[in-house]
């Protein structure tokens, strides 16, 4: 054990908190170093003196002053339990969060608005469908009316639906014209 370790273990030794092996090591150091023994004794004396120091008491008028202050505090409206304190019916934390979110939304909204006075327009795709004039027959030419009825009956099962789509517009000659404007 060196001097630093000895000083580290000093209080534990005095308060009897060292394990037996450390205690033995400590006592061996004490035997070999008389200055160590002196330090232990003087710290022990200091602790005894501190324990026997007289107790300082509050003055006789202290309780009177305290009760006066307590009465004054009671009349102050700010004394509330943390659970009961609400603003507009909300707890301070929740109200704060709401205000922050609201300010954030207003800020983001203002950032998105144009500042030079231009009118906002939305661009929509203009798709026109044109059909050849002979579409008076609702059934496609390659499917018979009986087959359509059969397909309707089988509509609960989906396995064949994709193979024979009855209203394939492109099959029926429809063309898509995309408006370039």
């Amino acid at each position: 054990m060196d001097r630093y370790q000895f000083e580290d273990y000093l209080s534990d030794y005095i308060e009897n908190n060292l394990n037996p092996s450390k205690r033995k090591e400590f006592e061996e150091y004490l035997k070999a170093n008389s200055s160590g023994e002196e330090l232990v004794e003087s710290v022990r004396e200091l602790l005894d003196s501190m324990k026997s120091m007289s107790e300082i008491k509050a003055s006789s008028g202290f309780m009177g002053k305290l009760h006066k202050r307590i009465e004054a505090e009671k009349n102050r409206p700010s004394i509330q339990s943390p659970e009961k304190r609400t603003y507009l019916g909300f707890a301070p934390f929740h109200l704060g969060m709401m205000v922050v979110v609201l300010i954030g939304l207003v800020f983001v909204g203002m950032e998105l608005l144009p500042t030079d006075g231009t009118k906002i327009t939305t661009v929509q795709p203009n798709i026109e469908l044109s059909f050849p004039p002979d579409l008076s027959d609702p059934f496609p030419p390659d499917i018979k009316k009986d087959e359509m009825v059969k397909l309707d009956q089988d509509s609960s099962g989906v396995k064949d639906q994709d193979t024979k789509a009855p209203f394939d517009l492109e099959k029926r000659g429809a063309t898509f014209v995309k408006d370039q404007n």
Binding site: D8, I56, S59, E73, I79
Partner: protein, 188 residues
């Protein structure tokens, strides 16, 4: 009033939180002198210690709902007292610096001893106590409070660690170093 000594501090606090002011009076009765002693040893001024004690006890009254039973009442009370003491010392230091900066060349500071407020003690004991009290003031506050709580208030290391909100090992090492520092100051 029922005999309040049948209640633990925590039970008294619960009663006080539900509106029983007698429970508060009992808490004050139990802690008043202990706290006064702790605060005085820390700030080294009887009047200031009394002010801090009053602030502490008023805060216990006004902030009673902030106490949760997860901690010991004593820990909570000592934490409040310790914080107030540190704040007051800081304020006093600042005031002293301001006063000194406003002093003229010929101004002198006279300290008038308050004999009336000195606690009643024998001459020999007073001398050694005063020496210890002065030596305590020479310690930095992070050494002073744990050593007062341990060696004068006789609290456990665990409680001191909770009051000061520092790890147990740190508390032990600070107390150990504070004792050695006190011993060397007293030897000088």
């Amino acid at each position: 009033m029922a005999n309040q000594f049948q209640f633990t501090d925590e039970e008294l606090m619960a009663r006080f939180q539900s509106g029983d002011e007698n429970a508060y009076n009992e808490i004050v009765f139990r802690y008043r002198d202990r706290l006064m002693n702790f605060i005085y040893r820390f700030v080294n001024d009887v009047e200031l210690a009394e002010d801090v004690l009053q602030d502490t006890l008023v805060k216990i009254f006004t902030h009673r709902h902030y106490y949760k039973e997860i901690a010991k009442v004593s820990t909570w009370i000592y934490t409040i007292a310790g914080n107030f003491s540190k704040t007051e010392l800081r304020k006093r230091k600042r005031r002293k610096i301001t006063q000194l900066s406003h002093m003229g060349k010929d101004d002198k500071v006279y300290e008038i001893p308050d004999i009336e407020r000195e606690p009643d003690r024998g001459v020999h004991v007073q001398f050694s106590e005063q020496k210890i009290q002065n030596a305590l003031q020479s310690l930095p506050s992070h050494f002073r409070s744990p050593v007062i709580l341990r060696d004068i208030q006789e609290l456990s290391y665990k409680d001191i660690s909770k009051i000061l909100d520092v790890p147990l090992g740190t508390v032990k090492s600070r107390i150990n170093r504070a004792r050695q520092q006190l011993k060397s100051t007293l030897k000088e």
